[in-house]
Symmetry: C2
């Protein structure tokens, strides 16, 4: 029987599940921006998240989108216009963001 899963990465506790979504290097910073602005375009995010490259931003956005945390909406304008927004699941991350801001301001 499968009593034993992979010994490598077995038990997905709630924290591990969260980390799988927002554990990336840039995840929190991207989400933070979106939480404060409701809608964000690619270029705006790239400017706001200081130091991120196009590739890393794309990767982060794709991952968050696949995780159901954000939505991507493309408008057939010329040039192209794309807007990203938090889903309900994404907005629910507010508690974590809030606690991190709080701890960072008090202790770090």
């Amino acid at each position: 029987m499968e009593r034993e899963e992979k010994q490598a990465i077995p038990a997905q506790c709630s924290i591990e599940k969260s980390l799988d979504v927002v554990g990336g290097k840039w995840s929190f910073l991207v989400i933070r921006e979106m939480m404060f602005h409701e809608k964000k375009r690619f270029g705006e995010l790239k400017q706001a998240v200081v130091g991120i490259s196009s590739k890393s931003l794309t990767d982060t956005l794709r991952h968050l989108e696949a995780s159901g945390v954000i939505t991507r909406t493309a408008y057939p304008t010329v040039p192209m216009t794309v807007e990203y927004a938090l889903t309900e699941k994404g907005h629910a991350l507010h508690g974590i963001i809030h606690e991190m801001k709080k701890w960072g301001s008090e202790w770090a």
Copy 2:
């Protein structure tokens, strides 16, 4: 054009400051263990945090210690005994851990 001038990379908002402490790959999982057990020895942590290597655990512990989140106490027994514990600053991370557990259980 009239954008708020955020300093290049070192723009340390509260979230970035938090990430600098607990943004590591294993940080949250190590802290989680210590938050539930008050005292933890090296070997216990290595068993509890499934998949972590000695090197990564050492690196994580050193970083957390340098950040003032945990303390390291070595007892001159044979063989050596070392205990790690959260500081007040470390215990203050409870809010973040709690929110991550909550979000992970509800959404992930």
